[in-house]
């Protein structure tokens, strides 16, 4: 009877000044557990302002001017990569153990003019926009304008794509019915398996050489293409070896002038490591981490593929080295933690490459979506947690940096001890780790046709999307604005925001006799929009295969070498194209409102609802309130709404899943990811029949609409698991938790039980934001004091203060689970 009594001693949301939590630049000492080196490196990484480097663009432009037309495209790309590795500025920072930067210094991002060439105007926007600024000097802009822009005008991938798309596609794209990933960056979405810890570049070169030697130029019609691809792969292996050796040289020369003998020893060790990896397979933990890091840098320098690069099950890959060295007495836990911390900071030094065009103004994050998988299952189906998993949790908790993203993978076989340790980190309120369910995503991968072992070695990269690590190209092609499809259905194919026809005619809904008739019309529009989307995605896919292959990435992805085919050209063992469907909550609630109030109760006519929606509910507050308060909404364990969600989800699966993409055996699948796109999608939409006002963001991932779930997290979990997650390539559930639900040790255990319950019922992913509204409002009012308040967005974490006002508002509005 006293359940509503507020606890007297709420653990306060950590104040901005608390040591070890919220970062204050003037406080040199931070964090328990972090040694001095890590504190310094973290501070440097944290304080470095993102800048743009034109170095890569200058090298590339000069190289293309001199060499375009002399080589096949794959070889040209590989030589271009080699050229840049030969010339680029090498950086070794003070105190660093793991070395290498994509640009000339931390947080300095190169451009990729062959894909999208920034205009002078773009640079000015990037220099001055409020959020996610990337600075560049006027001098560099001038050089770019003179040297780079004129050469690439009309030759970029982006222009190639946009000059060939059909008008229907353009209309739908401009209306915001979907986005297109590959117009800004290269397709990527890549995570690695364990092969680079067993093989070095020299081993890959041997495989390539053996393949080249056995080519049958007389009888094999594909011989020439394969030969060019293999040559390109071979050159790119050399490029990365060279890149590492240049670090060794720099370390050796730094050692000559270094006065501190301890640092001299470290620099000597760095040189030794860089001469060994990536040429040869790593022998110890240090080399293993540096090995991955060189491969990571190689792939993100060669091209700027989406979601950077991902080590996959990094704890599992590092565990054998750790165990061996601990047994031999050559490594301590603290030393391992230090090396892993160094790696973490390296990833944090690499913000996402900035976009061009209008999206330069809109873009929402520096995060480049490297997502480390921790825990989970091994390829043989046994538990994958190890001491390294726990070290990584320590590192996450101590450093709380933006990148890399991280996730814990909780199978039925995962010990509660690990889940509990992870829940403690979640409790800190940085928005991570997010939590995944291997038992379900392995089924997802099996359903997509992966072998059992490949499925078990798979995981989730980027945000929530599942793939066979090291063996698959699983390209995100873009987001689909599902509520917008209902919006055009309600307007007979016309986009009410612009008045333009963007869909097909499916009839005036005022004449529909039944809910089913309305729903059928929606399905027809859905099919039309998805067809537009796939057609152009396929086209872009081919353009990348032809003009922007990724020979180095192809070296490290299974079967590309044996097939002699590029990563973008069907080389990997598996080839998936994902369409990310947004707004399940918004469309479900909208359909539920129409079904109940118009067709079932007949409390309002379709005409009245449609007019109210067009007027953004002006003068119709009674109707809007009735809908909001008297409609069963998704997320309350109410079958009325949940059945609609299931139907919409199943129909999305039927429309998208299994359609062939243009790669042999490759297929389309869907996932239910939104990242921050639900904010953009909301902006391009008028009001919706669920009472959502025009311009407000739509629901994220598979989460309920903001404020729609009023029965607590267990009801949300029940609603969410009525959909069959196995049929997707990932779903996303954002659950906002206030600190008062995570007060006691026992509460943290109960959070673990909630996660286990969700996963037992078949949930794919859940993430928690442990913050209270007061904290968020305070952060909005005094951003300086909350500089590193991290919150979980849909699928990744971001600094609250780096978000624009719309995103901040949306975080605040997410259902608070304190009051139910």
């Amino acid at each position: 009877m006293f359940e509503k009594i507020k606890p007297h001693t709420i653990t306060p949301e950590r104040p901005a000044t608390a040591e070890g939590n919220f970062y204050k630049p003037q406080q040199a000492k931070i964090g328990p557990g972090m040694n001095e080196r890590i504190q310094k490196l973290r501070k440097l990484s944290f304080e470095a302002e993102p800048t743009l480097s034109i170095e890569r663009a200058l090298h590339e432009t000069a190289f293309y001017k001199a060499n375009y037309g002399k080589f096949s495209i794959p070889v040209l790309r590989a030589l271009n990569f080699l050229d840049h590795c030969q010339k680029k500025t090498i950086y070794i920072g003070e105190g660093e153990l793991i070395v290498g930067e994509r640009g000339p210094k931390p947080k300095c991002v190169p451009t990729f003019p062959e894909l999208t060439c920034h205009s002078v105007e773009d640079f000015h926007v990037l220099n001055t926009r409020d959020m996610q600024r990337y600075t560049i000097s006027q001098q560099d802009i001038d050089i770019y304008e003179k040297e780079v822009i004129p050469y690439w005008e009309g030759k970029t991938q982006r222009e190639r794509i946009f000059s060939h798309v059909p008008d229907e596609w353009k209309a739908a794209y401009e209306a915001g019915l979907f986005t297109e990933f590959m117009e800004q960056r290269a397709p990527g979405h890549t995570a690695l398996d364990g092969k680079i810890y067993q093989k070095g570049m020299i081993d890959f070169k041997k495989e390539i050489a053996a393949n080249l030697a056995s080519l049958d130029y007389i009888n094999d019609p594909g011989a020439t293409d394969k030969s060019e691809q293999w040559k390109a792969m071979d050159i790119s292996c050399d490029a990365v070896i060279l890149f590492a050796e240049r670090h060794a040289e720099l370390a050796e020369s730094l050692a000559l002038t270094e006065s501190d003998p301890k640092r001299v020893a470290e620099l000597t060790k760095i040189a030794e490591v860089c001469r060994w990896v990536p040429a040869k397979a790593p022998r110890n933990l240090w080399e293993a981490i540096q090995m991955y890091w060189f491969v990571h840098l190689g792939t993100i320098t060669e091209l700027n593929g989406w979601d950077a690069m991902n080590p996959g099950h990094f704890d599992q890959h590092l565990a054998p080295f750790y165990t061996k060295e601990i047994a031999e007495g050559t490594l301590s836990r603290d030393e391992a933690k230090e090396l892993i911390s160094c790696f973490w900071i390296k990833v944090n030094n690499h913000p996402a490459p900035p976009k061009v065009g209008i999206t330069a103004r809109e873009s929402g994050t520096y995060n480049d979506f490297t997502n480390i998988n921790i825990g989970g299952l091994k390829g043989d189906g046994t538990d994958g947690t190890s001491e390294v998993s726990y070290i990584m949790l320590d590192v996450i908790e101590e450093l709380h940096v933006l990148q890399p993203g991280n996730s814990v993978h909780i199978s039925a076989k995962t010990p509660d001890k690990f889940l509990h340790a992870a829940a403690h980190v979640i409790r800190q309120g940085h928005g991570y780790p997010s939590v995944f369910n291997p038992d379900i995503y392995i089924l997802e991968l099996l359903r997509q046709g992966k072998s059992l072992q490949d499925a078990r070695e798979g995981g989730c990269s980027g945000c929530i999307e599942v793939g066979a690590f090291g063996k698959e190209a699983y390209l995100l092609t873009g987001y689909l604005n599902v509520p917008k499809i209902l919006e055009i259905t309600l307007n007979n194919g016309i986009n009410p925001v612009s008045g333009k026809m963007v869909g097909i005619q499916t009839g005036d809904p005022r004449n529909f006799k039944s809910y089913d008739e309305l729903y059928d019309a929606f399905l027809k529009q859905l099919q039309f929009v998805v067809d537009q989307k796939m057609r152009v995605s396929n086209y872009i896919d081919r353009m990348f295969a032809k003009y922007a292959p990724a020979p180095f990435l192809s070296v490290v992805i299974e079967d590309c070498i044996s097939k002699g085919k590029d990563y973008y050209d069907g080389g990997p063992r598996y080839n998936t194209s994902y369409i990310q469907c947004c707004g399940l909550g918004t469309i479900t609630d909208s359909l539920a409102a129409l079904k109940k109030h118009v067709f079932q109760d007949k409390s309002f006519s379709m005409d009245r609802v449609l007019n109210a929606v067009l007027k953004n509910f002006e003068g119709e507050e009674l109707l809007r309130q009735t809908i909001i308060n008297r409609t069963p909404f998704f997320g309350n364990d109410d079958d009325y709404a949940d059945a609609i969600a299931v139907k919409v989800y199943d129909d999305l699966v039927d429309t998208i899943d299994g359609k062939p993409n243009i790669k042999p055996g490759g297929k389309y699948h869907l996932n239910m990811l939104s990242t921050t796109c639900h904010v953009y999608f909301g902006k391009v939409m008028g009001a919706t029949p669920n009472g959502r006002l025009a311009g407000k963001s739509i629901s994220d991932g598979t989460s309920p609409s903001h404020g729609a779930d009023t029965h607590g997290p267990s009801a949300v979990v029940k609603s969410l698991t009525k959909i069959d997650h196995v049929k997707s390539g990932g779903t996303l559930l954002n659950q906002r938790f206030l600190p008062s639900l995570m007060r006691k040790e026992e509460d943290i255990r109960k959070l673990g039980h909630l996660i286990r319950s969700y996963f037992t019922l078949g949930g794919h992913h859940i993430q928690f934001n442990i913050v209270d509204t007061a904290t968020l409002l305070a952060a909005q009012a005094c951003p300086e004091d909350y500089k590193d308040l991290l919150v979980r967005m849909a699928g990744y974490s971001d600094y609250f203060n780096d978000m624009n006002a719309d995103l901040q508002q949306e975080v605040i509005e997410r259902t608070e689970n304190d009051a139910f």
Binding site: M1, F2, E3, P7, H8, N629, G712, S714, A715, R743
Partner: protein, 302 residues
Amino acid sequence: MPESLIFDIKRYAINDGPGIRVVIFFKGCNLHCAWCHNPESISSKIEKMYAPAKCIKCGTCVEACPENAITLTSEGIITDPDLCKMCGKCADVCPTKAIEMSGKVMQVTEIMDIIEKERIFFDQSGGGVTFSGGEPLVHTKMLIRLLDECGKRGIHRAVDTAGNVSTEIILDVAKRTDLFLYDIKMMDSDLHRKWINSGNEKILHNLTVLAEAGKHIIIRIPLIGGVNDTDENIELTAKFISELAGEKKQVHLLPYHAIAENKYRKLGKSDDFEKLKEPDKETLERAIAKFGEYGILASVGG
């Protein structure tokens, strides 16, 4: 078919017994604590709750009222208590749920269906159902039916009670209860009468009997500044609990919080909140230490 008035059902309840629980709140109580945080739980009748902040003054309720009991004013609606028959038609039509009827007649099957929805969470967390109120024990028939049904289905049962019923009833309930969350307010019966409209003899006796019967009991003490947070009362309480038979008892201290005022206002009731204070941190620490002296583990919340 027994049925009872239920005023709330709360899912993902983590402070009312072990694991993740669902709490069933019965309406109607035979005590009247001045500080009650759920004032709507006291009356055993359906009540009308009105939240002016949510009201958009649309007048829909005025039209819907068959008794013409509602008047619309610039500040919101006024309901004439003499005319209102608590039929709930106003709440049914209110678009914003500014009007809500507290109390819903529910049957065993209906309640069991909701409890079953949470089974996965019970299984994973070792949770179950907690019957609370109001005073669940005054709904004896219904409570026993529900307890038996949960027992049959293997669901853990907790009963949150103030124990102010006959010993016969409490022993009957105890046969089918896995855990009691048992409230003690104060040891002095006269003070008890002053604040709660009833003496505490039956309550303390029943607790002794339950302890002797070997039941699992967690003692809950609402701690109200200026009422029962005196050293003397805490000492007497600790002593009493330490002398109970059976396993060592855990004590959960529930500090008073002034959040209930808004609820009283919604019910159109006013109460004198001036006298009641939130206990300060030192008092809580002192209380915990005092229980410790008697070998009792006391903690805040629960």
